[in-house]
């Protein structure tokens, strides 16, 4: 194996990891701040992908579709938080698991009713359908680089918002002591609603921008959900930094697993999680 091939795998792994981070960051914030185990988080990823597929077909532009699907995913997230999740804050985690499991079923069926059972693909925008030439025979698609760049920019933006702004201060405070934040007179209801909506929008964005490089298919939310839980738990629940490193780790492990041990690719991801948790039972950054 030569170093260019290795580089391509590293790039693929990081790109996949960054994409996972977009979904997992929302999941870890929602759990850390609101104390909600949201199994329906993967459904927002699926929603984003299907919206992008649908809107791209209508508008003829993937970029317009991605931009349009963002507010829709946020709105759906906000409405679900206000109608259903809000009733569960004081309830047992398992009630949340059960309710959000019910939501997954409804989301999956709604997807089937609206868009059917077929697997769809979204064409890459022609402006981005070129490759960076590495050697005579190897090249790397520009879209994947752009995707990584978008995710990286968002990760930095998220860091700045959380570390430097007043809203970020509430978020951090909420993650460490929810009741105290409420006692200090901060509108917790609104904060929770916004965090949930932002989480939904990020997951939806991840789904939408991944459409040109992966297929839009029923059940796509479920597999992402489990991987994101793996990411969140490896990083330490509630830690955005942990989710970032966990996502990169899992992205690389999954990519390299598929290259080196194709028969046991999925095994590597779970093996890493088990090893991390046996070493540090509360994740790397908790």
């Amino acid at each position: 194996m030569d170093s260019w091939f290795f580089l391509i795998q590293v790039l693929n792994g990081i790109q996949y990891g960054l994409l996972l981070f977009l979904v997992a960051s929302g999941l870890t914030l929602i759990f850390g701040i609101m104390g909600i185990i949201n199994l329906a988080h993967g459904a927002f990823y699926m929603l984003g992908a299907y919206l992008a597929y649908w809107l791209a077909g209508m508008t003829g532009s993937l970029i317009a579709a991605v931009l349009l699907s963002l507010p829709i995913a946020a709105l759906v997230g906000y409405v679900i938080e206000a109608l259903l999740v809000r009733t569960l804050y004081r309830r047992d985690h398992l009630d949340q698991v059960l309710l959000t499991y019910g939501l997954i079923l409804i989301f999956n069926e709604a997807q089937r009713i609206l868009w059917g059972n077929d697997v769809h693909g979204v064409a890459m925008p022609t402006a981005l359908a070129w490759s960076v030439k590495l050697t005579e025979t190897l090249s790397y698609p520009a879209y994947r680089l752009l995707l990584s760049a978008v995710c990286a920019v968002l990760a930095v933006a998220m860091y700045l918002v959380i570390a430097k702004t007043r809203f970020g201060m509430w978020v951090r405070a909420g993650a460490s002591n929810r009741d105290m934040v409420a006692a200090l007179g901060i509108n917790v209801k609104l904060l929770f609603g916004v965090v949930f909506a932002v989480g939904a929008a990020l997951a939806g964005l991840a789904g939408a921008i991944s459409t040109p490089i992966s297929s839009v298919a029923p059940g796509m939310g479920d597999s992402v959900l489990i991987l994101c839980f793996v990411v969140v738990v490896i990083g330490g629940v509630g830690s955005v930094k942990g989710a970032f490193f966990g996502a990169i780790l899992i992205g690389l492990a999954d990519t390299f697993g598929k290259v080196f041990v194709p028969d046991f690719a999925s095994f590597t991801v779970y093996g890493i999680m088990a090893a991390v948790l046996l070493w540090k039972p509360k994740g790397l950054f908790a």
């Binding site: 698991v97 309710l99 997954i104 079923l105 088990a274």
Partner: protein, 329 residues
């Protein structure tokens, strides 16, 4: 955690059990042509009920939420597939103890590693081990890989060459599974009422206090995990016997999640609740599926409604009803 069952509830449960046990009698009259199909369906539900009940020992009593419980279910099934000669029957006296021993050993190892974590981390570690089991059978060529394996001939139950029970008969098998379900219920009830069970239930309520009283919670949790895993293996063995087929999906997290939903929906910590949960979920599935192509929609709505309206599951509602009536004038 419910050690005391109100008298009226006990009577209600007994009546339900009698209705279930006499299903082969009245089912033939009511359903006529569909009876054979329904008999198998009900048998299948009872197997899932047994699996859900074993998980309840962990979730409801010890407070250990496992999302990898189906791994032991699948392992029990695969052990039958591996113990059966290709075109011949395995002997139950060999295959069943082998299956139980292997699942017990596997759950001992997985439990030993998992119980160091708690809360959501425990959920995820058990998920990880469950998925590893799934991919082990999915990717290895040991027993058919992702295609699964077929058990062509059902195991024989014979002594001195005389067949005691014919597992091929759907009616006999129905009663074998019912017997396993009732016996497991009785076993778990006795276990929870014993000093050992008291400590396990106490761990579910407050682990630090149990430790403060001088018990070693790890040991109790490990034993509970192993018992639950072994019972799940029994359920898997029965499932493999019934369908004559095993596949990796038996071990996957979808199956684990499905059973967990049965436990929570039915009412955890009650043992009989998860059994009700299994029947409600599976019968609702069957009903909705026969009414509409989009059966997941009413299914999801039903689950959400139960969470919002019945915080302690169906069993919680039954306990409340029967207790109020006892206390009434």
């Amino acid at each position: 955690m419910t050690s005391h069952i109100p008298k009226r509830l006990a009577i209600l449960l007994l009546v339900l059990l009698l209705v279930l046990a006499s299903f082969p009698l009245w089912g033939k009259l009511v359903f006529a042509a569909k009876f054979t199909f329904l008999l198998q369906k009900v048998t299948g539900i009872m197997i899932l009920a047994l699996l859900a009940m074993s998980l309840d020992l962990l979730v409801g009593s010890a407070g250990l939420v496992s999302l990898g419980h189906a791994a032991f279910f699948g392992l029990g099934g695969y052990m039958l597939a591996l113990a059966s000669p290709q075109y011949d029957a395995a002997s139950l006296w060999v295959a069943l103890p082998a299956a139980l021993a292997v699942t017990a050993a596997a759950s001992l190892v997985v439990g030993f590693l998992s119980i160091r974590t708690s809360g959501i981390y425990f959920i995820m570690v058990t998920l990880a081990f469950g998925q590893m089991g799934y991919f082990f059978f999915n990717d290895s060529k040991l027993a058919g890989g992702s295609d699964g394996a077929t058990i062509y001939v059902k195991p024989t139950v014979a002594a001195f060459g005389v067949t005691l029970i014919d597992l091929d008969s759907k009616l006999s098998f129905f009663y074998v599974v019912l017997g396993a379900l009732v016996a497991s219920y009785a076993l778990l009830r006795m276990l929870l009422a014993s000093p050992f069970g008291r400590v396990v239930s106490a761990i579910g309520v407050n682990e630090s206090r149990v430790q403060g009283l001088g018990f070693n919670p790890m040991l109790y949790k490990l034993v509970a995990f192993t018992i639950a895993g072994t019972l799940a293996g029994l359920a898997g063995f029965l499932a493999a016997t019934q369908y004559g087929y095993v596949n990796p999906a038996m071990l996957g997290w979808h199956q684990s999640g499905h059973v967990l939903v049965m436990v929570i929906l039915g009412g955890m910590g009650t043992l009989f609740g998860p059994v009700l949960g299994a029947f409600i979920l599976e019968l609702a599935h069957h009903l909705f599926e026969s009414l509409t192509d989009h059966w997941l929609l009413p299914m999801g709505a039903m689950i959400i409604a139960i969470v919002l309206l019945l915080p302690k599951g169906v069993a919680g509602l039954l306990i409340k009803w029967t207790t109020e009536k006892e206390d009434g004038p």
